[in-house]
């Protein structure tokens, strides 16, 4: 890591902020803290952190509102860390521009992994002609995917699905978003299409399709392209 990454934590619970500061500092991050939404917005504008960890249940401004306001000018990763575990809230936050989410209580190892993935994905040039993920490589120009150097037989839809997820590596994409991008607006309710294609794609690209590491299911929310 060339420079120290700064992480802004917006959470009203002092104990959670303290825990995060201890854990994240120990892992080489510089930590900024804000106890409410207003301060959070000011700090984000003043210090331009590399990543923001945002709680949805803040005392002054609703977390979703802060998310919308931040996304007007802040394009670095935002991770939601909240006790609200209802799928609707999470989907809404992802639609409002959050990159990822974790519900409290969480495992710090998991949080660190998500932070690393989000920062890495932000640095990566998504317009690179060839994306590589271990033994899998995706050639955007020639529309070809290779596994262990062998060309995979993918249908057009399978390839667009793979590209969409791979370009957004580490980021959770909601069902609706994927359906809209790959199939179009008329298919927003056709989750079954997505399921079938993900299952087909897993058989082609995963080492062990029943224990996927690339096409990861996010319970009831969507999919994420793993490392």
């Amino acid at each position: 890591m060339n420079e120290i990454e700064t992480i802004l934590i917006i959470d009203d619970e002092l104990q959670i902020r303290r825990l995060l500061e201890i854990t994240l500092s120990a892992n080489g991050y510089k930590i900024l803290q804000a106890g409410n939404g207003k301060d959070g917005l000011v700090d984000a504008a003043t210090y331009h952190p590399s990543l923001i960890i945002l709680d949805l249940g803040l005392p002054d401004i609703d977390g979703q509102e802060i998310l919308k306001k931040l996304r007007e000018w802040f394009f670095k990763p935002i991770i939601i860390l909240s006790v609200r575990s209802s799928e609707e809230d999470i989907i809404k936050a992802l639609d409002n521009g959050a990159n990822d989410y974790l519900t409290k209580p969480f495992r710090s190892g998991e949080l660190l992994a998500r932070i690393r993935a989000a920062i890495r994905a932000g640095e990566k040039k998504n317009d690179a002609p060839i994306l590589e993920f271990g033994s899998l490589s995706i050639d955007m120009i020639n529309h070809v995917a290779r596994k262990n150097k062998e060309i995979l037989k993918l249908t057009t839809t399978e390839f667009s699905l793979l590209c969409l997820l791979a370009k957004n590596q580490g980021r959770v994409l909601t069902h609706q978003y994927i359906l809209k991008e790959v199939w179009g607006y008329g298919y927003l309710e056709q989750t079954q299409y997505l399921r079938v294609f993900v299952a087909q794609l897993r058989k082609k690209i995963e080492d062990n399709p029943s224990k996927p590491t690339l096409l990861i299911t996010e319970s009831g929310i969507g999919y994420r392209f793993g490392d």
Partner: protein, 522 residues
């Protein structure tokens, strides 16, 4: 002459309605008939006019009057008596065609004829009226009997009200409006069964007055006669169920009043019975929920204290005394395990309260069962370390329509349970299949199974097998049942032949619509 009696008119349903005045209009036929009969009799008897046997005519006429009196009202009978006397005098008593009577004995005869005809007619009507009153009384007795029987059959306030409304409609020709109290001696302002009816502010205050004073008020009474309704109190022996409002044309009087009072007493008693029943049930419910509350409180405080004590003890030890590395990590491990346990407890309590409050809304979507199983196996990977989870899902398993979050919890609880009771290094089988529009999920372990006598209680809240080695509130399986039933599915439990328990979930599902899929993909 008393004519202010009830006169009966049978309506088309055969139900007797009561009015207060003789119905002259509909009796015109009777007047005409009486007139014609007397006319015809007179004509037939004309040959006797000039003979000495004109007295016979008087008997014939008396006979006719008696016959007519048996089925005609008092009006036609009076007319027919007078008319026959006059006709006899005019046509038959010499000198003919005058009302003059020559002989003293004929005058006497005429006078007696007139009186006999009148008495005969009036007496017959009177007998008929008595008979009619008796019939009315019998009908009222029958009505009351029927009401009592139906009221005793009715269970619940709503059914009693329905019977009462129907009864009053049938027997009093008015649509009653029952205003009941809420159990705390405060009247509702709208009907319990009659939601469309609502009292105005003024009517409501009259109803309240009637309720508190137990006296009738409203139209045709001394108190607040300006409102449309007449309000009658319903008085029970231990509590007053409420007030009944009726729209009347005139206040009940005489027999009708007695009938109404008895009718209302029956209804009041039935309502009171139901009110007391409801109160008793509420009391029972309170006792039951009090018991549940105590159980919950006891076990929650126990379940919370154990992990909190672990965390406190272990962290205190770590903070205050130096430990070698392996002891340190053992203590950290204890803390972590305790927090997982706390987290599970909170999760179960939240799910239970969602179930209890009826806030479970099932959001169905298509899911791949493999995803579900992977997720649960991942979440339970620590618990499953010393077990082999054998998953069997057929390759051709279609997508199923479920609520992912709920089913995840269901599978989690079942597999977690298996890891708590089955011996270490044993197999836990998870079989998922699709059969005849149902998805079938089976979780089997090699644990001790359940004793036969507790099989019926396995899914009950706070139920725990006494030999439970592990902690827990006994909520896990009742959550499983609640969530599966939210999917309109069933869950059953049994013991396996060679030991261990076997849970079977069946959830109805449809086949996904993926007909056009292959076309799209190529």
């Amino acid at each position: 002459m008393t004519i202010f009696y009830f006169w009966d008119v049978m309506n088309e349903k055969g139900i007797i309605k009561h009015t207060y005045f003789p119905d002259f209009n509909s009796r015109i036929k009777h007047y005409v008939l009486a007139f014609v009969v007397i006319g015809v009799t007179t004509l037939i008897c004309t040959p006797l006019a000039n003979t000495e046997s004109y007295h016979v005519v008087s008997f014939i006429l008396l006979f006719i009057v008696s016959i007519l009196a048996t089925f005609m009202g008092i009006g036609p009978v009076l007319m027919v008596s007078t008319l026959s006397a006059l006709v006899w005098n005019f046509f038959f008593i010499p000198p003919h065609y005058t009302f003059h009577i020559d002989k003293a004995e004929d005058l006497l005869m005429f006078g007696m004829f007139f009186i006999i005809a009148l008495v005969n007619g009036v007496l017959t009507t009177k007998v008929r009226r008595q008979e009619r009153l008796a019939r009315e009384r019998e009908e009222r007795t029958n009505a009351l009997f029927q009401l009592t029987r139906e009221l005793s059959k009715a269970s619940g306030i709503d059914e009693v009200l329905a019977v009462a409304i129907e009864g009053i409609k049938n027997h009093f020709r008015t649509d009653p409006f029952f205003i009941l109290q809420d159990g705390n001696n405060i009247l509702h302002s709208s009907g319990r069964l009659q939601k469309e009816k609502k009292l105005t502010q003024k009517e409501y205050s009259v109803a309240e007055w009637v309720f508190t004073h137990s006296r009738k008020a409203g139209k045709f009474t001394d108190d607040s006669p300006s409102v449309e309704y007449t309000f009658f109190p319903m008085n029970g022996t231990r509590l007053n169920p409420g007030v009944v409002a009726v729209k009347l044309e005139q206040l009940f009087s005489g027999d009708q009043k007695a009938f109404w009072d008895t009718f209302l007493t029956q209804i009041s008693n039935a309502l009171e019975r139901e009110f007391l029943g409801e109160l008793a049930q509420k009391a029972r419910f309170l006792v039951e929920s009090d018991r549940l509350y105590k159980t919950l409180f006891n076990s929650i405080s126990h379940e919370l204290r154990i992990p909190v004590a672990t965390i406190m003890g272990a962290s205190d030890s770590l903070l205050n005394s130096p430990h070698p590395g392996n002891v340190q990590s053992a203590l950290f491990n204890e803390i972590f395990t305790a927090t997982l346990r706390l987290n599970r407890l909170i999760e179960n309590l939240l799910n239970m309260s969602r179930l209890e409050s009826g806030q479970i809304s099932v959001r169905l979507d298509w899911y791949d069962m493999n995803d579900l199983v992977n997720k649960v196996a991942e979440d339970l990977k620590d618990e499953l370390k010393s077990f082999s989870l054998l998953v069997s899902i057929p390759d051709e398993m279609p997508l199923v329509k479920i609520d992912y979050g709920l089913m995840e919890q269901v599978l989690y609880n079942l597999i977690f349970n298996a890891t708590q009771y089955a011996p270490v290094n044993s197999n836990i089988d998870l079989c998922i299949l699709h059969d005849n529009g149902e998805v079938i999920i089976q979780v089997k372990d090699h644990g001790p199974g359940f004793p036969e006598e507790v099989m019926g209680n396995v899914f009950k809240k706070f139920f725990r097998v006494d030999t439970s080695k592990t902690g827990g509130l006994g909520l896990g399986l009742s959550i499983v049942k609640g969530f599966v039933e939210a999917h309109k599915g069933t869950v059953t439990v049994g013991n396996r032949k060679n030991g261990g328990s076997e849970f079977t979930i069946r959830i109805p599902t449809e086949n996904p619509d993926i007909k056009n899929l292959q076309l799209d993909s190529e």
